[in-house]
Symmetry: C2
Subunit: 299 residues, 2 copies
């Protein structure tokens, strides 16, 4: 039985960083998020791919126990081409071929409608809302987005935030969405819209969890080499909701642990291109890094 | 008996931020550092001021028990004019009038030569080294610098790093000094030069402590309003060495606590211009925020 439903993109990524290049590698927000969640729970995906989607990628997801019955197949797969420069902070998009994503309408299969945990990973916010409409009665909703949607569909982004229990934003998005340089102010503005928690992802600087009257600061893991940060935010979200779905404890205290598990998966993901590092990642390695996170913030 | 000797600048600062402006307010690296250190220990300053230095500023430092016998008086006081734009990350220097600082030669009074803890706060690295030459046998040396010296006197900066036990760099300086975008790599390069510890100050993102084989990640305090970040790095360093001088425990474990105390003072300092917030800061407030730092790290 799947216990986390994830809507997002499944993509082919062509990526260049100072440390190498991959062509049409497996990517997309739902891909990274579901792979990360699969370490703790049984996620299923709502998305669309094309006839060109390599069978080995489908097999990789299937072998992780990820539910693929909500993935439509149509035309060609969404293809994103991006490059990271020396500072690795933000990708420069070189090409976006939406392909089958362009006219994608989310459709939740009957068997997924009763899933209680939903992750609205980065995709058109209208489709995020569409998924929520089709679900029976989701109990816990996590929502992510990106600057593109904040610029072009701000109204829908706000609507999705209002329906979410936990909102994920990176620092740049939070500042943009609430027109302030202060992340604390931005988080407080987001909380006013209704969610129980707002998490601001700061890449190498860690993550901030804001809830009513409480604050948690998660450290960034001290990676000496970041090979490819693509998908780290999605891995964070997937790890976060996956851990919560597994433990069924939605307290602020457990959110903190979930933030660290999300960070653990994300920090591993940055160590190699595409899903290369996550493919071989073990629970023992996850637990080991979790303990390292404890150690680096002890005083 | 003074227990921390601090060489650095004592300045008049004219500063504009989005939240206000001050004219010829009390500033300078030695000023902020000694004021911060004075909450824990008895610092003394090596610096130079001019005939124009307001008596009320001298009184303010004296009343905090800060030793002023190493402050030479000559010509006019160093005057810095800077502005912070909306993002408050870095000051734009609008004017620098070195005045008496231009030909300053550090001279350590006899009575300060036996002090065991030395903070080489931000000033010309040649004068930092000069102070070390004049000291009897300092046991614990903390060293800070800035991008200007890394660009113009890199050789002396490196020499000072080699003599220090703990080196403080902000993230931009660390990247510049070791020509790498990775703070972990930069810190490891700095450790190779000899210091026991390297601390990378990241402003709102907290601070990273690197020692042989160990890492500590100190959170940034979630300030909703940063009125003026001037002097925060100096306050951090002053609080850090002040706490260590008081506790006389130079273990990695105690460095971590000292990093938090430094962060506590620095975060308060950002709440108002010049020394305005620190002037009224109490030990009870310091301990309260220290506990908040504990709370925001717990998971």
């Amino acid at each position: 039985m799947n216990d986390v439903l994830i809507i997002g993109t499944v993509a082919l990524d062509t990526i260049e960083t100072p440390f190498g290049r991959v062509d049409r590698a497996l990517g997309g927000s739902a891909t990274y998020a579901s792979f990360a969640a699969s370490f703790f729970s049984k996620p299923a995906i709502i998305s669309v791919i094309g006839q060109d989607f390599p069978r080995e990628y489908t097999e990789l997801l299937k072998n992780k126990g990820i539910g693929l019955d909500g993935i439509e197949i149509k035309d060609k797969t969404f293809h994103w081409e991006g490059a990271y420069e020396f500072n690795m902070n933000e990708a420069k998009t070189k090409k976006t071929e939406l392909n089958s994503l362009e006219h994608f309408k989310a459709k939740v299969p009957e068997k997924y409608k009763s899933i209680k945990n939903v992750f609205l990973a980065n995709i058109d916010p209208e489709q995020q809302l569409e998924v929520l409409k089709q679900m029976d009665e989701p109990e816990f909703i996590v929502m992510d987005t990106m600057n593109f949607w904040i610029i072009h569909k701000k109204g829908y982004v706000i609507e999705a935030i209002k329906k979410a229990d936990v909102v994920l934003l990176n620092d740049g998005e939070a500042r943009m969405l609430f027109s302030t340089v202060s992340l604390v102010k931005a988080a407080n503005e987001a909380l006013k819209l209704g969610p129980k928690a707002v998490i601001i992802k700061k890449g190498e600087h860690g993550a901030l969890l804001f809830t009513e009257g409480k604050h948690f600061n998660a450290p960034g893991y001290p990676l000496e080499l970041i090979k490819d940060p693509t998908g780290c935010g999605d891995c964070f979200g997937g790890g976060f909701i996956g851990y919560l779905a597994k433990t069924k404890d939605f307290s602020e205290r457990n959110f903190r642990k979930a933030v660290i598990y999300g960070s653990v998966i994300a920090s591993h993901n940055a160590e190699d291109f595409s899903l290369n590092r996550l493919k071989s990642l073990t629970m023992a390695e996850i637990e080991k890094r979790y303990r390292e996170f404890e150690e680096i913030r002890e005083f």
